[in-house]
Amino acid sequence: MLEVLGVSKKYGKLLAVDNVSFQVPDGTVGILLGPNGAGKSTVIKSIAGLVRYDGNIRIQGKDARDMEARRIFAYVPEIPNMYEALTVSEHLEFMERAYGVTVTQQERELLLSRFELLDKQDKLGNELSKGMMQKVSICCALIIKPQVILLDEPMVGLDPAAIKELKQVVLELKAQGVTVLISTHMLDMVKELWDVTFVMNKGHILGSYTREDVGNEDLEELFFSVTEAKRPEAEGGVE
């Protein structure tokens, strides 16, 4: 389970995130939605431990900053940044060592082949295209067998085959009881994946909705109905 409890973050005088709370239970796919500048990236960076924040973030009940929490948490950033002098397979081996996981050669090859990277194993980080970097970034997150995974715009730059594969992977993770949180603007891509969605704007969570809550309503319609409504009304209506 991923719990974000009263998280606030200031950049100088600017309050980017104001007392944000939400939780994504085990085996659930959560979607973080919001227009540009809503504070999604700040929430994501806080969960990943990349920025200072006030409040608490818990991963499977442990403080997100604890080593034990980090060991079971995987993160796919919006823009992948490879080590330019490490090959694809060396990136994976580094992750295995850093997270202390044992992965068989067969498992590793299976993962790489799912994202069509098997023949790119010996390519250096600076020899990869943006799409390939994104695939490697996803593989690096999956190789550690996480219990909680955070994907920030994971489909940007991916080809249709990789998007299809990623969707399948997310469904498999969900079936295995993994907590998944995806931040994306590509609403069409996640319409068959999501269980719970959090709509953010101006540093606040405007509402959280489960699939059961909204019935047949489209994610896009939901997004516009929430963000275009006045904030106090929206808050009153959904919390």
């Binding site: 990349l50 920025v51 900053r65 490879m82 080590y83 580094f94 060592r97 850093a98 997270y99 202390g100």
Partner: protein, 525 residues
């Protein structure tokens, strides 16, 4: 540590493998080896002239370096700027279950190879230049590699990663570092007031007991003096205090709380650093690490269409700049001109070189700034430049027009004050300005030629070497023309020959660049 060692080992190995395959590596290696042989020889002569070719001289040199390096490191670590993190570290290391202290050590250890190499060079130089015994050099090498690195790592951990220190605590460390420098300056000022300025005073100051009593910096110099000049009461006490400091720092570093609160600052540093790298690759030197450029409000009215739009867009950008298109080169030109004028006035001329002093300085200024291309370099990389529906020649002209105007201003600043003081005729001054404009134009078009000719083959450094090579040829041809002109018809003909030849070269490079521009346009399209 297993993962970090893996990362360090494999990054180093892959870089080495890649470098071995590149011919340019061997050129750099040859240059480094040449330097390594040349520097000790030239330094030996210089130090013996100053009677410093002895172990005391070695202690004095290392003391002087310590005055600069130790406070600079302290300030950098306290400002969370002294460690080189990349975006890949943000992606993989900061989010991994690796102790944030180890992540700091990883960034510090990145410099270990260079550190080892430099210390070895210093040890060898010590034996050769300063006549220090081998056992002393071995001891110094071990001290600098082990003890100094341990202390620096500890201070780095305490300043950069210690969460109990907080922002105010780190600001205090910065103030303390400046305070230590202040004490050193005060000691120097008191000595100067008593003895006056002389070489003996400088040496005496560097060896003084007072300096060795200054915390951190002075204690380090006490160890150095103990090692090279023998024990005294002060340097033994200073050395003991250095070791006590080491123990305290290491203990503090082991105990301190560090859960990765510094990642936010390190991440910002990584972003800023990569931005600077990208800009440097484009030949822009005006972007400084961590300094955001501020733009004012401005407006231009566009006249005409096609490539003229590039000119007006550049004009708008320059108008938003605080100093319009005046930059370091402008200051350099004005400063250079005033310096030439002052030197001419105080020396009464430059002998045979008097008439050519200004063109020589101009050639030097353009040559050393050859690889800095300003807006033009950015223009060349922009797809919009190629997509504008106009001829390649027009684009080339309008994209560089403002830089030609800039060259006229800079050339005037360089040629006019010095020319007037030196009593040059208006024709000579005018031709000098024209020379500067032509030299600059050559530089600009050479960048385009180099981009097309070798940009994809040699990489960034290779391309810059090629630019320098072409610029060197261009200047050499003009110089030969100038010499011939001087021999045949005197000074005015020499100036005219240089200007005409530079104009011819500009036309040639511009034509090649416009042809390449067209080709690039076709390929890109």
């Amino acid at each position: 540590m297993n993962a970090i060692l893996y990362l360090y080992r494999h990054t180093f190995r892959n870089r080495l493998r890649k470098a071995i395959r590149k011919p340019v590596t061997y050129v750099y290696l040859a240059i480094i080896i040449l330097y390594l042989f040349m520097i000790p020889f030239s330094f030996k002569t210089m130090f013996s002239e100053f009677h410093m070719d002895n172990p005391e001289g070695m202690a004095a040199v290392l003391t002087a370096f310590a005055f600069w390096i130790i406070p600079a490191n302290l300030v950098a670590y306290a400002k969370r700027k002294g460690l080189l993190f990349r975006k890949s570290d943000t992606h993989f290391l900061f989010t991994a279950p690796i102790s944030p202290k180890k992540v700091l050590l990883y960034a510090h250890v990145k410099n270990l190879f260079v550190n080892l190499f430099l210390n070895l060079a210093v040890a060898l130089c010590g034996a050769y230049i300063f006549g220090v015994t081998w056992w002393q050099m071995i001891l110094y090498f071990l001290f600098s590699v082990i003890v100094e690195n341990l202390l620096e790592s500890g201070i780095m951990l305490l300043c950069y990663g210690n969460q109990r220190l907080g922002e105010k605590g780190r600001a205090l460390v910065v103030k303390a570092a400046y305070g230590l420098v202040g004490i050193l300056v005060l000691i120097a000022a008191v000595g100067y007031a008593k003895e006056g300025l002389s070489w003996d005073f400088v040496l005496g100051y560097l060896h003084s007991d007072a300096v060795q009593m200054v915390p951190v910096i002075g204690w380090y110099t006490a160890v150095i003096h103990l090692l090279f000049t023998g024990p005294t009461v002060v340097n033994v006490i200073g050395s003991v205090l250095y070791l006590v400091l080491l123990a305290a720092v290491l203990l503090g570093a082991l105990r301190m709380k560090c859960t990765g609160e510094y990642y936010e600052d390190a991440m910002k540093f990584a972003d800023d650093y990569e931005e600077v790298l990208v800009n440097r690759r484009q030949g822009r030197s005006d972007v400084r690490l961590g300094k955001k450029k501020h733009f004012g409000r401005a407006a231009v009215s566009y006249r005409g269409s096609g490539a003229k739009a590039i000119f007006y867009r550049q004009l708008l950008e320059y108008k938003k700049n605080r100093f319009f298109f005046f930059d370091m080169t402008t200051l350099f030109c004005l400063g250079g001109s005033i310096f030439i004028a002052w030197l001419y006035h105080s020396e009464g001329g430059f002998g045979d070189l008097t008439d050519f002093m200004i063109p020589m300085i101009m050639a030097y200024v353009v040559f050393i700034f050859t690889t800095l291309s300003g807006k033009w370099g950015v223009e060349l990389k922009s797809p919009y430049t190629f997509l504008i529906p106009d001829t390649a020649f027009n684009k080339l002209w309008y994209a560089t027009a403002i830089q030609h105007i800039q060259a006229i201003v800079n050339g005037t600043l360089l040629a006019l004050p010095a020319g007037i003081v030196m009593g040059q005729s208006p024709l000579t001054i005018g031709l000098s300005i024209l020379m500067f404009v032509m030299l600059n134009a050559c530089k600009l078009y050479i960048l385009a030629v180099a981009e097309i000719a070798v940009g994809n083959v040699l990489g960034q450094v290779g391309k810059q070497m090629f630019q320098l090579f072409l610029m060197g040829i261009g200047i050499s041809v003009a110089v030969i023309g100038g010499i011939l002109g001087m021999m045949v018809g005197g000074l005015n003909l020499a100036y005219i020959m240089i200007t005409v030849l530079l104009a011819g070269e500009t036309a040639i490079f511009m034509t090649i660049a416009s042809l390449c521009f067209y080709r690039m346009e076709t390929v890109e399209g």
